[in-house]
Symmetry: C2
Subunit: 250 residues, 2 copies
């Protein structure tokens, strides 16, 4: 037996595909079994979980999902191929920026990255390498965009994600810790093999087309490049970030 | 002045979004400025190039594109957000498998990778690291899928891409070169830092969910793992491939 959701309800849920709708309601969408599973064990507040009768799982905390038709699921999903489970959760309140804490740790910085899939995959990779803190420039895609959430595969709920003026944030870290060093990915940098894994510091990744912006580069002590041996003109930002995070971690 | 394309023509072009349509016609679609640019300087046969009046480029060989409406471009595009340029090209004849040549070189092998974006990005990364030869299992997504082509950013036209039974191909390489070694990405492998850059050999990447298949692992002399330090359960296949290719190259 599936519940029919009203046209208005579908409209409301679809509004969460867009930043404006998420800002106005304070809610966002989480799709896919792995993602919803991780959401349910996180500290985030879950509002409603929708499933189709294709879904054969169990949910942490014995939560009861609403069963809806496959057609309605397609209507509310933000993905190309909808999954049998979709949750609506409250956007958490901003993580407070505690430079005294972050300055003794490692920080990944994303400057002006627009592609949701790339940003989601980078957050997932950061979580794999045990990074806790990620700073996004104001111009980066919203981390609660459904496609970002989807690509993080649950890692979004484990990371501390900040958003703001990168230069200002980096300056505050250096004030708290004079040994805090910032390295940027740059086409005109030192060979990547020169990069050592620090105990604290920041790694800055820029966009594929523009790289790290000039105003941010002023705060970077060094620049590194992934050496090129073939014909491709550039690397995908997610791939470049993955390679850099690996070298920066070991 | 833009040309109106007929409904039948739109239908024919849209059939190239699917493997069946490409097989029957021997044609495929290339979208985006960078991709079409690289197509035009490749040895591939270009049939037609469509542009909208938004397009302000020039094409190698002084080719004359057909100007169509933005609406028709959306109709024929296989992408979410269509670009102002789309080309139709002939699928090249299969690259002949020359084990005597490949056996002295490096080969990237993709086992059962289905995601078009991942496979395209991996081909682009392989090209960045100067790999020339890539072998796909029969079950991998078609490399002429429009989303694969899109994500390669032109690298597809520079690589030699083979498709077939991985075990058989690897065996033929070892026959020609007894020092040819095969390493597989595997969750239960040696630490990645033990991997050295060889002058010849193969690197095998499996799918995110199933890894490298048992039948292929039989042909691998060693297995490597990207060490995990955090909470994510797995890495995106494209990211894992990128990190492995970097370490395998230097």
């Amino acid at each position: 037996m599936s519940l029919q959701i009203s046209k208005n309800e579908i409209k409301r849920l679809r509004s969460l595909h867009r930043k404006k709708g998420r800002r106005e309601s304070g809610l966002f969408i989480v799709e896919g079994e792995k993602n919803v599973e991780e959401l349910c064990v996180s500290s985030l507040e879950v509002q409603t979980i929708y499933v189709t009768d294709e879904w054969k799982g169990g949910l942490a905390g014995n939560r009861k999902p609403l069963v809806i038709s496959a057609k309605d699921m397609v209507a509310i999903s933000a993905l190309h191929s909808s999954s049998p489970i979709l949750a609506v959760a409250a956007v958490p309140v901003n993580v407070p920026w505690q430079p005294e804490r972050v300055a003794g740790s490692k920080l990944l910085v994303l400057d002006d990255l627009k592609d949701p899939g790339n940003v989601g995959t980078i957050l997932r990779t950061a979580d794999w390498f045990g990074l806790e803190h990620v700073l996004l420039s104001e111009t980066c895609v919203d981390e609660f965009n459904p496609k970002v959430v989807q690509s993080t595969m649950g890692s979004l709920f484990r990371l501390k994600v900040y958003r703001g003026d990168i230069g200002k944030y980096l300056a505050s870290l250096k004030e708290h810790n004079p040994t805090f060093r910032v390295v940027a990915a740059d086409m005109q940098g030192d060979e990547l093999s020169t990069l050592r894994a620090p105990t604290c510091g920041a790694l800055v990744i820029g966009s594929e087309s523009h790289g790290v912006s000039e105003s941010v580069l002023q705060h970077c002590e060094s620049k590194v490049t992934i050496p090129r041996m073939g014909g491709a003109e550039s690397l995908n930002a997610g791939i470049a970030a993955g390679i850099l995070m690996y070298v920066w971690s070991f």
